[in-house]
Symmetry: C2
Subunit: 217 residues, 2 copies
Amino acid sequence: MSSFKRKIDPAAISDLTIARLSVYLRCVDRLIELGIETVSSQELARRFSLNSAQIRKDLAYFGEFGVRGVGYQVQELRQYLIEILGLDRERRMVIVGAGNLGTALCHYSGFSGDSFLVVGILDSDPQRIGQPTPSGLLVEDSSRMGEIVQQRRAEIGVIATPARSAQRICDQMVESGLRAILNFATARIRAPESVRVKTVDLKVHLEELSFYMTHGD
Amino acid sequence: MSSFKRKIDPAAISDLTIARLSVYLRCVDRLIELGIETVSSQELARRFSLNSAQIRKDLAYFGEFGVRGVGYQVQELRQYLIEILGLDRERRMVIVGAGNLGTALCHYSGFSGDSFLVVGILDSDPQRIGQPTPSGLLVEDSSRMGEIVQQRRAEIGVIATPARSAQRICDQMVESGLRAILNFATARIRAPESVRVKTVDLKVHLEELSFYMTHGD
């Protein structure tokens, strides 16, 4: 099944390329829903308002896909994208911060598909520890992070705390052996190079809407 | 003060360009914190791991910035970015869905700065209507959306409901006169062309981390 085993240098690929691979995967899933079996980069671009030259360029980083004049075999492209993104295995996450945001993320459907699984939600507030979340997990004491990460083989930490706690939680996540951190706190955080940090800034989406509201009709 | 009055065709600008303008604004704010008064595209690129040619290209869409050999005047660049993004006025929002996510967004600090203001949080659940949120707003009945939008001059609607309700809420937002919609539900929604819709898919961030975990050391 898994035919994609080329060595990839992640430093050569921009974050924007990776983000587009996720978009292509969504599009391919949609084509499969529609029963479409082959697609050209032009058709993919037209149907989903993408750029066909960009699609070819992005996919060319990862080897030879598609057949000239025919296009991509949709199932095969899906499998390639899943392998490139590393979604062919389960990634376990712990969320720190059991306030509204952490609780929402805990049962956010995008966070509990085939590839990602929330295995713990932690907080330091004694009022929250032991309380059930809507997804069925009980909130656990964040002082037990190291033990929980190791026992449940978690790889990703999600920071859903106030900004003032974010760096401390990040340090604790690094020490616990987590390999990647998704930060929702509105604070800059630093981690060693071996740990990948992604800070999510939801305000950029509002700014995008604001741009179109300003320059639209 | 406002020297930037060039007519912009939003159809000629990609979403990714807009997203980068938001990034440049964050960088410029950081330079101001650091007391830096002028910056070249090369220095901006080096300091924040960006692409200097891309910076020049992105800003060139919007007119002539910077002085050859000197670079950008930081305060002036900030003012330009704010005007381009339409952040020089207040944009009022209503959030629909007062569950964990809607409540979290209601007091998310990125959503309550100089440019954006949450003026209402609505739900259809009688158990939630009338309850206070941590940000001090009371949850109101979503059947009153039209009246609330008009009275409080809201322009942006934020959907924080389950996927199954998203299209119905979207339709109601369009009818209420909202001009832009930020959709956090994991559902595709459709609106007339006159209303800009941005669907936020938080899973893409996990997929990006997964890529680096897969292809890193």
